[in-house]
Subunit: 203 residues, 2 copies
């Protein structure tokens, strides 16, 4: 299809599609002349993913670029998928300095007995999130943090159960898309559940 | 204290503090002349909260303004706290048109037997998040959505248990700050737990 049809079918303007092409978010079409190219269903699917990552996922263009780069070059070993996905989403692994400062996250992971690599990006994310909460006047008691962690482990069990086992590329896509696009679903469920719990709590 | 000291203690520039004052995020100081005012600990605490909402919470200035407005005028009835907090965070309740379209959220809430108001902002949030996931190529099976919901109910039980019961203002602050600032903590825990589950899953 021409870029005008890709625009019509995706609902994304031609100018924006050209921006995605320039930024490397969208793979090039098949050149049919010096100035025109043709696009296929893989482009349409990618454009929809880009919109979802930028809009619902709230990712920056740079982060979305890391995600699409990761999708285009999946790692050979299946157990490296999560590291690639989380690295693309978080902006990279911990620096050694951050790693040694990540004490609250390390203490929690140790206490829970979780198997998590020492340089996992999620350790840095947790440490930064706890530091930001503390800066905003919210200290999370260790007991509550443990309860939150156990609940999110249930979430992760569902996450991992759904990963397709046929190809590394499909698995990576599922992990990245599932992580970004289900985050808002989980947070909305948290608010709905707060209402339910609150309505059952005597005031 | 003078605005220069408020700036030094909060780490926020004087120009930015004046912006917060103009936008109504920060309450005015006590005027000591036509051009100067004095600030106290309540201003310092508020500036720290504003930074947390904007930085870690990722809120827009308009959303942060709704949060601080809500904090300054807490509702008289305790059970209205969550509605005010969620309304401030989500941008408002469902419109009637959105409400009638929110079928996936309604079906889930019904199936779980949760007590959630028909116009709760979180219903709209869930509906939009599910629609965005579907647009990005991710349909969540009903069985998985139910499992996610049960896990987030555990999170909400911890959330509501921690709400202070002494004053409506303190309770509202806890709910708003806890919701915004713990979202990133929960999402980081999800990623850590994914690593643990994945490491225990034979590849």
């Amino acid at each position: 299809m021409r870029i005008s049809e890709l625009s019509a079918r995706s609902g994304v303007s031609v100018a924006t599609l050209k921006y995605y092409l320039r930024e490397g978010l969208l793979h090039a079409g098949l050149a049919t002349s010096a100035t025109t190219a043709t696009y296929d269903e893989s482009h349409l699917e990618r454009v929809r993913l880009i919109r979802a990552l930028l809009d619902s996922g709230g990712l920056s263009v740079a982060a979305a670029r890391r995600v699409t780069d990761a999708l285009d070059t999946p790692p050979p070993a299946r157990h490296d998928l999560l590291g690639v996905a989380h690295g693309a989403l978080s902006g990279g692994p911990l620096s050694p300095a951050e790693g040694s400062a990540a004490t609250a996250a390390a203490a929690l992971v140790d206490a829970l007995g979780w198997h998590v690599g020492i340089c996992a990006p999620a350790r840095a994310e947790l440490e930064r999130a706890l530091a930001a909460a503390a800066a905003g006047g919210l200290e999370v008691p260790a007991r509550d943090l443990t309860a939150y962690a156990r609940a999110m482990h249930k979430v992760a069990e569902v996450d991992v159960r759904g990963v397709p086992r046929d190809s590394a590329a499909a698995a990576l896509r599922h992990v990245v898309v599932g992580t970004v696009l289900l985050d808002p679903v989980l947070l909305a469920l948290r608010r709905l559940a707060q209402e339910d719990v609150s309505s059952r709590t005597p005031s």
